[in-house]
Every structure is written in structure tokens, then in C-alpha cells.
């Protein structure tokens, strides 16, 4: 079912994307890449563009897509760092209830997820990584969908 209308969603999405969000790569229906920018002048993210990778399962949109930031080296034409945020690990994995099975709703779309992430970045003032970032980055070998996040912070 997912594949039947993923393409339909794509064609609809290209018509009008919200500001600060661009579709970079959608050559397969399983993986898309998006670029997002934070629009206000939060000094942490000013003038930066971040690359998001969406991985869709067969059951999308009933099940959430896997979403993470990916890093492109500063030497490439389009450098894409991992934004610094107390809920984003330095390997790009995002701790957001919206993307977990409990917070996901099938009416969410790629745009709405991107916009949620935009606002998550906009609202942030802390220049820090999540607690235990180094251990997590070093030892995590699980897939994103298998990680049990604890969503303790309701402020973000």
C-alpha cells in the first residue's frame, strides 16, 4: 500500500514545500533526503542547512518513517553538519516522541515532520548534546526503530 501512493505524495509535495525545506533526493520510494534550515536567527543554527534522511517502511504511513540527520563533510560542495541539540545525538539520531511509535500518527507527512524538527531547533537555546552522547554513539548498533527512547522532556 505504501508504494502505491508514496509516489503520489511525492508529486504533491513538490508543488509547494514550506519555506526552509527542500527535497534533495527521492530516487527511490524507500529513502528520501531533505534539507532543512532554521528560519529565524537562532545563533546556534544561523546560516546552516541540515540534511535529513527519511527511510520508509512498507507500512508507512501507518508506521513512522525512520528519520535521522546525516552529515556531509565540510569539504564537500554542500557541507551538512549535525545540529547541536540536547535531543539530537552526534551521529544524527533524533530523540523525538513524534517519530516513535507512541507519538506517531498516520496523518503526519514528510513536510509536517520537517516542520516539527524546524521548530524543535528554533526553540532550543542549549548548546549541548544529550547526556550520555558519547557512550550512545560509540555503542549503539541497533536500528533506530529498535531503540527505546524515554521521552522525559516535555519542553521541547
Amino acid at each position: 500500500m505504501a508504494m502505491a501512493f508514496a509516489g503520489k505524495r511525492l508529486s504533491k509535495m513538490n508543488e509547494h514545500l514550506p519555506p526552509g525545506i527542500t527535497l534533495v533526493k527521492s530516487d527511490t520510494l524507500e529513502e528520501w533526503q531533505m534539507d532543512i534550515k532554521v528560519l529565524d536567527d537562532n545563533p546556534l543554527y544561523k546560516d546552516q542547512t541540515y540534511r535529513l534522511k527519511f527511510t520508509f517502511s512498507d507500512k508507512y504511513p501507518i508506521e513512522p518513517p525512520e528519520v535521522q540527520f546525516i552529515e556531509l563533510p565540510t569539504t564537500s560542495d554542500t557541507p551538512r553538519p549535525i545540529p547541536i541539540h540536547p535531543h539530537i545525538y552526534s551521529n544524527g539520531i533524533i530523540c523525538l516522541d513524534l517519530l516513535g511509535r507512541s507519538g506517531w500518527s498516520p496523518v503526519q507527512t514528510v513536510e509536517s515532520v520537517c516542520m516539527s524538527l524546524q521548530s524543535m531547533l528554533t526553540a532550543n537555546t542549549k548548546d549541548e548534546r544529550p547526556p550520555g552522547n558519547n557512550d550512545f554513539v560509540a555503542y549503539n548498533r541497533r536500528r533506530i526503530r529498535d531503540i527505546n527512547f524515554v521521552y522525559e522532556d516535555d519542553n521541547v
Partner: protein, 440 residues
């Protein structure tokens, strides 16, 4: 109905042979409100929740099975997360009608059907009317399928091969008509211009080279009206004055183009210069306005430089800027002089003030001294009296003269005599003594 019934209903429904409405190609654009927020297609069998959110039946069912935990009898609405118990199968007919009238392409388009049908009719179109639906061959010994429209009244198998008379190729009977009219490689066609017969596939190439085709003269873009057969066009072109003059036109055109480019470039540069000039002028006006407020000297100076600047607009700006700089320097010098002058004046006046204040202070000092002396002089007789009464009380027999002597000895100075003379003028009651003593 509540959730359990709703889910059970889904298990029974059978979708065999149904057109998958989600996979359809929607030709006409439709309102986004007619779109199921889960599958992003126009609603298919819409159902409604208590919170008035509408979803496709199938989408909602899969959402419920994912998010509904078995032990609870409610689940969150996918749109607004309102806890919901009941699903209403009735939605306004308006909604279903609007969804059903959206134009879609027949799903058999890859078989050749070009039909556009309202979505509500697509099921019956595919089942009954679409000629591109594949049906089993009426001949039971043949296992091939045939398109419905190829079935003829006699209902016989058209899968046997027959030979094309022109290309000697075996073609299936049902495709023969198409082969005969379009696909056969040996099909001939007549060139409309020269009347020769050519193989249909090469007709296009032939038309490009056919000597009989009428084509315009090479000088047509410069105004030659002649349209002649291709065979004769070369003789015409040799005589045509417009063709002869063609290269010249070309050269002129390129020249004009490059000149236009040049002109654009120059215009841009000119604009830049004009901007710069305007800037310089505005600074000039400002500076002259400022300097006219200060004295007469700099005014004359800047007037001069203004004059110079106005004709310097054609000559060079550097001299003008230098002169401006010079005049500003002079202004600064003048301001420095004025400052020193003011400084001297200020210190002079401060000195004067100081002297005056010192004198005043001396006066005040003297006055204070006098007052102090007066007070002392006034106090002396009192003290004198006090001691006298006290000693009188204490000693009883002691003579007042002795006490007076004591007082006189303890209070020397000019006021002494006055005190002694004033003392008796002020008779005191005995009760006063203690009070005076404590006061002192």
C-alpha cells in the same frame, strides 16, 4: 458502531476483483479537503469519528490495529488524538458524491484504453464497458487472452497466425489490421510532391530530400518571397540578390549585436559613475552646510571648494577630495584655537572665584572668632557665680572673698574684669546653681 465491530467488519470484506481506487491516476485536480489524511487519496468509503474527522475505512482500520491496544476500548483519532470509541459509517452524501465525481484514467491505460471516467463509475467501466479488458479466448482449446473489443460477434479465436502478403511475416489475426495499416515494413506510401512510391518508413527522409518539395529561398529571412521546388532552388539562389547580400547582412548583424552589448556595458558603467557623483555631491552639500555654521573663514573656503567640485565633476574627483580634506583640516585647527582660548578663560575665572571665596572665608573666620570671644566673655561670670555659691554652700564659713579670688585666678583674660563687674548685677537664686552646673 464501536471499534471491535468495525474491525470485525473489515475482516469479512472481500476486495477480490475490485479496482484499487488508490492506485488510480487522478486526472482532474481535487480539493485537499477531499483527501484522506492517511493515504492522501480522495476518500474511499469514508467513515467518520466522534471528533468529525473523516478517513477511508481501510486506512482507519489499519491505523486502529496499529495504535489500539487490545485491552482498551478506545483509540486516539489520528488527526487530533481525541480518545474515540465509536466509528460512524455514515458520512454526508455530499462528500461521497464529490469524491466519486473526480475524473480518473482507466486502470487499463497500459493496454491502450484512453478513457477518462468519473471515479464512481470506474468499477463498472472496467467490468462492463472497457474494451481493453483481457478476457479468455472464446475458443476453449486456446489458452491466450484477448481484448474484449477484439471479440467479434461470431466469437471465434483470433489467435491463429496469418501471413502478411507484403512482408511475408506471420502476424496474429487480432493484430493484423494494425499491421496492415501501420506496422508492416514493406508498406508503401506516395510522396505528395513528386508522386513517387516509397516505403512508408522512409517517407520522412524522402520528404526532406525530395526534389519536388517546395521550399523557401535561403534569403527568405532578408525578405525574398520566392518559394520554389528544391530542384530549382539553387539556380534561384545564384541569382537572388538577397542571398548574395546575405553574408554582409550577417556581418552587420553581428556588429550591431556586439555594439549593443558594448552599449549596455557602458550604460551600466555610466550608472555607477553617476551614483558615485551623486554621493560626492550630497556629502559636499552637507559639509558646506556644517561649515557655514562656523565663522566666516571656512565658509569661504568650502564655497571655493564647492565651486571647484562642481566643475571637477568632469575633471578628477581626487583634487576635489583633497581640497575638501584641506578645508576640514583648517576647520579643525580653528576649533583647536577656540578650545585653548576657552580653556584659558575658564581657568582665569576659576582663579578669580577662588580668590573671592578665600577672602570671604577669612571674613567669616574673623566673625566666628569674635562670636566665640563674646560667648566666652558671657560664660565667665556664670561660672564664677556657680563656683562661688557652691563653695559657699560647702564651706559655710569660708569667706566669699576667698572664692572670688579663686575665680579670678582660674579665669584670666580681658573678660575677667567684665565678668567680675557683671557678676553682682545678676543675682541668682540658690536653686539655679545645680541646673547651671549640669548644663556646663
Amino acid at each position: 458502531m464501536d471499534i471491535q465491530d468495525f474491525l470485525a467488519l473489515g475482516a469479512e470484506s472481500n476486495t477480490e476483483g475490485q479496482v484499487d481506487l488508490r492506485a488510480l491516476d487522478h486526472v482532474s485536480s481535487y480539493d485537499s479537503h477531499l483527501m484522506c489524511p492517511i493515504c492522501h487519496c480522495p476518500f474511499i468509503k469514508p467513515v467518520r469519528l466522534q471528533c468529525d474527522h473523516v478517513f477511508c475505512e481501510k486506512c482507519l482500520r489499519s491505523a486502529i490495529t496499529t495504535f489500539h491496544s487490545a485491552d482498551s476500548d478506545h483509540f486516539p483519532c489520528p488527526s487530533c488524538r481525541t480518545p474515540t470509541r465509536h466509528v460512524s459509517m455514515s458520512v454526508p452524501r455530499l462528500l461521497t458524491n464529490m469524491c466519486d465525481e473526480i475524473q480518473v484514467r482507466c486502470p487499463l491505460a497500459e493496454n491502450g484504453c484512453q478513457e477518462l471516467v468519473p471515479r464512481g463509475h470506474i468499477q463498472s467501466h472496467v467490468e462492463k464497458y472497457c474494451g481493453y479488458q483481457l478476457v479468455p479466448c472464446p475458443d476453449e482449446s486456446c489458452d491466450k487472452k484477448t481484448r474484449k473489443k477484439d471479440l467479434q460477434a461470431e466469437k471465434r479465436c483470433r489467435h491463429s497466425y496469418c501471413r502478411c502478403s507484403r512482408c511475408e511475416e506471420d502476424v496474429m489475426e487480432q493484430d493484423y489490421e494494425e499491421h496492415d495499416l501501420e506496422l508492416c515494413p514493406n508498406l508503401r506510401a506516395t510522396c505528395v510532391d513528386c508522386g513517387t512510391m516509397v516505403v512508408q518508413r522512409t517517407l520522412k527522409n524522402h520528404i526532406e530530400a525530395c526534389p519536388e518539395v517546395v521550399s523557401p529561398c535561403a534569403g527568405s529571412k532578408y525578405g525574398c518571397q520566392a518559394r520554389i521546388r528544391r530542384a530549382e532552388i539553387s539556380t534561384h539562389e545564384q541569382q537572388c540578390p538577397l542571398v548574395a547580400i546575405g553574408p554582409y547582412f550577417e556581418a552587420q548583424n553581428t556588429r550591431i549585436n556586439s555594439l549593443e552589448l558594448n552599449m549596455q556595458h557602458l550604460q551600466q558603467r555610466n550608472e555607477v559613475f553617476e551614483d558615485g557623483l551623486a554621493n560626492i555631491r550630497s556629502t559636499l552639500v552637507e559639509s558646506s552646510r556644517i561649515s557655514s555654521r562656523h565663522g566666516s573663514g571656512p565658509t569661504a573656503d568650502t564655497d571655493e571648494s564647492a565651486d571647484r567640485a562642481s566643475n571637477a565633476s568632469s575633471s578628477n574627483a581626487t583634487t576635489y577630495l583633497l581640497s575638501l580634506h584641506e578645508s576640514l583640516r583648517e576647520e579643525v585647527n580653528q576649533i583647536t584655537y577656540a578650545l585653548t582660548d576657552l580653556d584659558a578663560r575658564a581657568s582665569m575665572s576659576i582663579m578669580n572665584e577662588c580668590l573671592r571665596i578665600k577672602e570671604d572665608m577669612a571674613h567669616t573666620n574673623a566673625a566666628v572668632n569674635t562670636v566665640r570671644m563674646q560667648v566666652q566673655w558671657l560664660m565667665n561670670p556664670r561660672l564664677h557665680n556657680d563656683t562661688r555659691t557652691a563653695s559657699l554652700r560647702a564651706n559655710g564659713a569660708n569667706s566669699g572673698a576667698e572664692a572670688r579670688q579663686l575665680m579670678a585666678a582660674s579665669a584670666p583674660g580681658p573678660s575677667n574684669a567684665a565678668g567680675a563687674s557683671l557678676g553682682p548685677l545678676r543675682p541668682r537664686r540658690p536653686s539655679d546653681g545645680g541646673r547651671e552646673g549640669t548644663k556646663l
